[in-house]
């Protein structure tokens, strides 16, 4: 495992839709590098034939329910917390160019 440089942190930040100022970039690059260095300890373990665990318990299985109508949130309830709305819609800044 490699450690992490500023350029990579900047790229990862963009993937996560975060913008870091120079101070944050400096801070997080250093901290993430030392965390990743600590984490690289995992390479000591041979996991060649090990099945990965995504959930701890074997009791978990796919859950299906009947496809039937049930009460859910009304449009008003769903929009109650919207920072911006118009009619029955969440309102966001313009996505498509033009006008």
């Amino acid at each position: 495992m490699k450690t992490i440089d500023k350029k990579t942190v900047e790229k990862v930040a963009h993937l996560a839709r975060l913008k870091l100022d120079d101070k944050e970039l400096e801070l997080y690059s250093g901290q993430l590098a030392s965390i990743l260095l600590y984490i690289s300890k995992l390479n000591e373990i041979d996991t060649a034939n090990v099945i990965p665990t995504s959930h701890a318990l074997a009791t978990l299985k796919n859950v299906f329910r009947k496809d039937c109508l049930k009460r859910s949130l009304t449009p008003d309830e769903a929009l109650e917390n919207a920072p911006s709305k118009e009619g029955d819609f969440f309102k966001v800044p313009q996505i498509i160019e033009g006008k």
Partner: protein
């Protein structure tokens, strides 16, 4: 009657049954106590006084298992129409349109919800310092952290500002603050309690659980919140036992394993001495104690700090300023709106974990980090499977040190992450685990002992913890506030 706030739920139930007190007196007792000590402790982020008084006066059920008992909720549990913020600016103004299943269950049994407790932002932390509301203080020494992330819940129980509380535990967030505040904190088995309405941190690790003043209350509260829920596909459809049957003062025939890897470099001398003395008490109560080995223990923190942030970065993608919470002003397009909202709305630790998680999941690094961690997680689980073939439960320290000073580890995330070295394995393996008071440091800070058992064997945990508690006095001591 005085000092109702300092009693347990089961004691208050007895008093109410005998007509010696009533829900209104209990509620006002708790509020009066909070008024006095809250300026020092700062455990609450939202007081539900009005709602609680209304409930006591009329709407609350009068005959449930928790009738008239005040309960405080961690601020990541949704209550319909009540501000729920996860200690984060990005959820400012959010009022859930529905109740969490645990909230529904509490109210169905007559519990009185008295407000919301402070927490590390999105439960990211071990000290309650990353909350956007500022830190909660440890009631035993207000210069110290209460632990985290359920620090507000644990501090409020320790300070008698509530009778019981709920927390959530992803890597130790119930047990570590319970240990540091001298109260009882249980992380149930993964799947035992529905997470519907718990704002997700790491979905393969999160569990909701009780923080209480003694073991009997822990069993009582678990019996109310446990059980299958069709709204949480990870909740398990197994009957909920009557946990009070497990509260017996007899450990004869119980095989306790003590993992040698938990008593190595990094453990505080007073913590080790207290836990070893605690193990001696268990032995004197009839348990058979043997040394066991959990060889992959030293890899648990690394595994957790890949799996946890990876899942968190994915869960936190939903906070984008569109449907709820905070939206930053002044963005001209959609992507800019997302970026401004998230950059202004998330605090430092949240950003750090989102970055770490996104990195571990990104193309080219997924196999080296995320997949590798999932494989080591298998090794950690297998360690426990082997251990439980020779013992019924495992006893360890809960936290390597007592509470540390506010600010002491804030600038070094790695040292903060190592606070959870003993609690993380239970989450990775999905096991139930409790922390109970087992001693005090020379400077008067509480020390906790952890008991782990097989999946869905909370009964063995309660039996061990209850016998220990009845044989000791640590849970009776109160902080001087």
């Amino acid at each position: 009657m005085e000092n109702l706030h300092s009693l347990t739920a089961h004691k208050l139930k007895e008093l109410m049954a005998r007509g010696e007190t009533d829900p209104s007196a209990i509620l006002e007792g708790v509020f009066a106590r909070a008024e006095k000590v809250e300026p020092k402790v700062k455990a609450f982020v939202l007081s539900g006084k009005e709602r609680a008084r209304k409930a006591v006066a009329g709407t609350a059920r009068k005959n449930g298992k928790l009738a008239g008992i005040p309960v405080l909720l961690k601020d990541n549990l949704c209550v319909k129409g009540e501000a729920t913020t996860c200690g984060s600016k990005i959820l400012a103004g959010f009022k859930p349109p529905y109740d969490a299943t645990v909230v529904r269950k509490l109210e169905a049994e007559g519990a009185i919800l008295i407000g919301k407790a402070n927490m590390d932002e999105f439960a990211f932390g071990s000290s309650c310092e990353t909350s956007c509301y500022g830190p909660t203080k440890n009631p035993w020494d207000t210069a110290c952290i209460p632990g985290g992330s359920s620090g507000g819940s644990a501090a409020a129980v320790a300070a008698d500002e509530t009778i019981m509380a709920l927390g959530s535990d992803t890597g130790g967030s119930i047990r570590q603050p319970a240990a540091l505040c001298g109260v009882v904190g249980l992380k149930p088995t993964y799947g035992r309690v529905s997470r519907y309405g718990l704002i997700a941190f790491a979905s393969s690790l999160d569990q909701i659980g009780p923080i209480t003043k003694d073991v009997r209350d822990s069993a009582l509260l678990l019996s109310v919140i446990a059980g299958y829920d069709e709204m949480d596909s990870t909740s398990v459809d197994l009957p909920v036992p009557d946990y009070s049957n497990a509260l017996v003062e007899d450990l004869k025939g119980l095989r306790i394993g003590v993992p040698k890897e938990y008593f190595v470099k990094g453990i505080d001398g007073e913590v080790e001495a207290s836990v070893r003395a605690g193990i001696g008490v268990l032995k004197s109560l009839g348990a058979e104690v043997k040394e066991i080995s959990l060889p992959h223990t030293e890899y648990a923190v690394s595994t957790y700090y890949i799996v946890g942030p990876a899942e968190a970065s994915s869960n936190l993608a939903r906070f984008d300023g569109v449907q709820y919470g905070f939206r930053a002003a002044g963005a001209d397009d959609m992507i800019e709106m997302y970026i401004k909202t998230r950059s202004e709305g998330f605090g430092n630790e949240a950003k750090r974990r989102i970055l770490l998680g996104t990195y571990c999941l990104s193309t080219g690094y997924y196999d080296a980090y995320y997949l590798k961690a999932q494989k080591v997680r298998t090794k950690i689980r297998e360690d426990f499977d082997k251990a439980f073939s020779v013992c019924d439960c495992i006893v360890t320290p809960t936290s390597p040190t007592p509470a540390f000073k506010i600010g002491e580890r804030a600038s070094d995330p790695l040292s903060m992450y190592l606070s959870d070295v003993y609690t993380i394995p239970a989450n990775l393996a999905g096991l139930p685990a409790i922390s109970i008071p087992c001693g005090f440091s020379g400077s008067g800070l509480p020390i906790g002992m952890q008991v782990l058992a097989k999946p869905f064997d909370e009964e063995t945990i309660f039996r061990t913890a209850y016998a220990f508690e009845q044989g000791t006095e640590f849970h009776k001591r109160k902080p001087n506030l």
